[in-house]
């Protein structure tokens, strides 16, 4: 019942502990100050440009819109705060921050695909993105001790991605930001090769089936209701947009899942008459030439979307005035 060689054992344990501490310290130092996509997003929100009256939020479908002139507002009064792959919980965090920071904000245009009601970053193994928000929002979807510890680490916030330390990464991110700043028309016709069809099928299945969990619908509905309540309590107008898709997307999409979400979304809109709801899913005004791929509009598509949102908003406002 004795432990022999205590001294030797303690020395070696201390050496291993020291190694771990040095390794963590070096990695933290290397990744200190390396900005992630969410850092860029929040930097944009915290910028002191108080002329922003309309904010676009959502995932990559909202991102593809860029900064168009909407509701008759000038482009410099519009800002896009979307992040690719974002779910409703994290959109809520962004909307909350926008309301706190942007004093001139009047409109929030929220892009919500049907499939977003069954989608969560955590369910699709993107917990690292969840951690990126913690620094700003002080909350995450997964608030376990391990996740909170990782969220405070620079290394884990960067998803342990060593490529983020390279100059190339910084260049690419800066290019993306500047492209968003100076949004220019770049009409790209849709590819019509077989590969494009296959890609379209994969995308449709990915969005409406692989990433979709019907068990998440109730939870996401609650989050969406929180967003609606938050915006209306701040005397702002929420415009909820369901973006259009290319025909092949509809062909391969899991129609059962889309239908579940559609029903739920329409039920919600019925009880939230203060929200301007613009549903462009299966809108006949769009054709294949309006998209760069299965579900992201090109500049021609963006113009159409902008026009529809503006018309629907004024039409809705007109109806509500009676």
């Amino acid at each position: 019942m004795r432990l022999n060689n205590k001294h030797r054992f303690c020395v070696e344990i201390a050496a291993v502990a020291l190694f771990i501490a040095v390794m963590i310290f070096v990695l933290e130092l290397l990744f200190c100050g390396v900005p992630t996509r969410i850092d860029y997003l929040y930097a944009g929100i915290h910028q002191s440009n108080d002329n922003i009256e309309l904010a676009i939020v959502g995932n990559s479908h909202a991102g593809a819109i860029g900064k168009p002139s909407l509701l008759g507002l000038r482009r410099d009064c519009v800002e896009n705060y979307s992040v690719g792959g974002q779910d409703l919980f994290h959109i809520y965090l962004v909307v909350d921050e926008l309301i706190k920071c942007k004093k001139a904000l009047k409109y929030i245009v929220l892009f919500v695909d049907y499939d977003m009601l069954g989608y969560s970053l955590i369910e699709t193994n993107q917990r690292y993105t969840d951690r990126e928000y913690y620094k700003y929002a002080d909350t995450m979807q997964d608030m376990s001790l391990a996740n909170r510890l990782m969220a405070t680490s620079n290394f884990f916030r960067c998803n342990r991605e060593f490529s983020m330390l390279t100059k190339k990464y910084k260049q690419v991110e800066e290019e993306k930001t500047s492209k968003r700043e100076k949004y220019e028309d770049n009409y790209i016709p849709i590819a019509t090769t077989d590969d494009a069809g296959e890609a379209c099928k994969r995308r449709a299945l990915e969005m409406t089936s692989i990433k979709f969990r019907s068990s998440l619908v109730e939870e996401n509905k609650l989050i969406l209701q929180h967003i609606i309540d938050l915006v209306s309590s701040s005397d702002m107008t929420l415009i909820l947009v369901v973006p259009p898709k290319r025909q092949c997307f509809y062909d391969y999409a899991d129609s059962a899942n889309s239908q579940i979400s559609k029903c739920e979304l329409y039920k919600m809109m019925k009880s939230n008459s203060n929200v301007c709801f613009v549903d462009m899913y299966e809108n006949q005004n769009f054709c294949d030439d309006d998209f760069v791929d299965a579900d992201h509009p090109n500049s021609q598509g963006v113009d159409k979307i902008g026009l529809i949102i503006t018309n629907e908003y004024f039409n809705d406002k007109y109806k509500r005035s009676f």
Partner: protein, 471 residues
């Protein structure tokens, strides 16, 4: 509490220090402390189920005691042993299998409507493991292979010993219980080798198994969206995921037990280098297969019966072993699949191989054939439902998607997964043929540091349960 959780990383050093520096005056104190630590470890998940484990322990301890009391009266001893087996299996049956059998019955006779009849109880973690461990004690006492212990604490600590409580190795009382009775002396070499084994187990779980799980879960949870390559890759990846996951758990268990001065049995011996199915089962989950051999197969008559009866014994043993794994028909069929394969091996009089044979290049064709059969078996094991099984086998060779074929997995991630498999294979291969001699210290130290760096940079830190916890 999971081995790969922050809580365990705090729990283990505290228990270690208290065990060796505070409660080290005598064995009884250490046993009491082990029992408290083990119940804390288990109760962390759900303290209510501690009642169950305590009850199971008490029944087996009492039956061992009574069997010894009535040693001269064969019928009474037999009745006590049978009663203990029935009580334990009844508990296991209610918690693990009741809903499954009722639902299956309802599917056949009531058109699937069983809502009012189902209990919907949460499955207590590790119930199959500790029930089997407790049962082995009373059966061994009944068979006169073991002297029963009068020390309740010692026995309770044996059943609940935290390193192997929830997923084995399923220890025999003949091996582990005497270790609770004698004084423990551990030296520096034992502790460092234990920690090294636990670290390698952690690496296998957090780096290899949990990364492979990403691809496996995407495909198996949504099989109907895939055909061809993704199904093949998912089956192969699961083959290595379950091995890394379960052998990783066993390594952590054995390593952790060693630092407390206990020796647990080996549970895996490079199973994917087997040259026959029989050899595979001598290398895979050894503690369970030997349990079934000793307490099911041999009592049924083993191989000392007629040819047909012997085949039936094999089939029954493996089908029950399939059911032990989980309350789902996929597990039952998986068990039966191996029963049939072993009968076929016997029919064709295939040679039995010793697992100590060193690997030679001419073994390769047999190793590959066995591996392919095992991969097909794992696809059956992992499938969520029987209809998924039929879909997988019907579409596994319909190649109409890309090589990777899963939208959420990048080429980089996929290559990394292949490298993990290569690493696992290489280590097993080295264990089998190269490293029969002791490794130089410098290499051992280097490997420890590499594993730490590997876990920190590539490991999955979100708490992922071990696959065998559900059994």
């Amino acid at each position: 509490m999971l081995f790969n959780s922050i809580e365990f990383f705090i729990f283990l050093p505290i228990v270690f220090v208290l065990y060796w520096f505070v409660f080290n005056k005598n064995v009884k104190r250490q046993n009491v402390f082990i029992l408290v630590a083990s119940y804390t470890f288990y109760g962390w998940w759900n303290w209510r189920f501690l009642i169950l484990i305590a009850f199971t322990s008490f029944c087996s301890w009492l039956s061992g005691f009574l069997i010894e009391e009535y040693r001269g009266d064969y019928r009474k001893a037999k009745c006590i042993n049978a009663a203990n087996i029935i009580v334990n299996l009844l508990i296991l049956g209610v918690f693990k299998y009741y809903d499954f059998f009722i639902q299956s019955f309802a599917d056949v006779f009531l058109g699937g409507k069983a809502d009012g009849l189902l209990l919907r109880i949460i499955l207590p973690v590790g119930i199959s493991f500790y029930t089997f461990q407790a049962l082995s004690y009373s059966i061994d006492v009944y068979r006169n292979k073991l002297q029963p212990t009068k020390d309740v604490i010692q026995f309770f600590a044996f059943v609940a010993f935290f390193p192997q409580l929830v997923a084995g190795p399923i220890e025999r009382a003949t091996n582990l219980l005497p270790q609770f009775a004698r004084a423990r002396i551990v030296n520096y070499e034992q502790i460092t080798s234990g920690l090294r084994q636990a670290l390698w187990g952690l690496f296998k779980k957090m780096v290899i198994a949990d990364n492979l799980a990403v691809y496996v879960n995407l495909v198996f949870n949504d099989v109907e969206n895939y055909s061809g390559f993704p199904l093949i890759w998912a089956a192969i990846f699961f083959t290595f995921q379950i091995y890394a996951d379960f052998s990783g758990y066993s390594d952590i268990a054995i390593g952790t037990a060693r630092i407390f001065g206990f020796d647990l049995m080996t549970n895996f011996r490079q199973p994917y280098l087997s040259r026959s199915i029989k050899e595979f089962w001598n290398r895979w989950h050894i503690s369970l297969s030997s349990w079934f051999r000793d307490y099911v197969y041999i009592p049924l008559g083993g191989n000392r019966v007629s040819y047909v009866r012997h085949c039936a014994n094999l089939f029954i043993t493996f089908t029950i072993s399939g059911l032990w794994h989980g309350a789902n028909w996929t597990f039952v069929i998986w068990g039966a699949y191996y029963g049939v394969l072993l009968i076929l091996e016997k029919l064709f009089c295939l040679k039995s191989y010793k697992i100590d044979d060193s690997f030679k290049i001419n073994h390769l064709p047999k190793v590959v054939c066995t591996f392919v059969i095992v991969v097909f078996g794992w696809a059956l094991f992992r499938a969520n439902t029987l209809s998924d099984v039929w879909y997988i086998y019907g579409n596994i060779f319909k190649f109409n998607s890309g090589i990777i074929g899963v939208p959420l997995v990048s080429v980089k991630t996929f290559i990394m997964m292949l490298l993990f498999i290569w690493l696992l294979f290489t280590v097993d291969f080295c264990k089998q043929i190269v490293l029969k001699r002791e490794m130089k210290k410098i290499w051992r130290v280097l490997l420890v540091f590499l594993q730490i760096v590997g876990i920190y940079t590539l490991g999955v830190f979100e708490e992922q349960s071990f696959i065998y916890f559900q059994f």
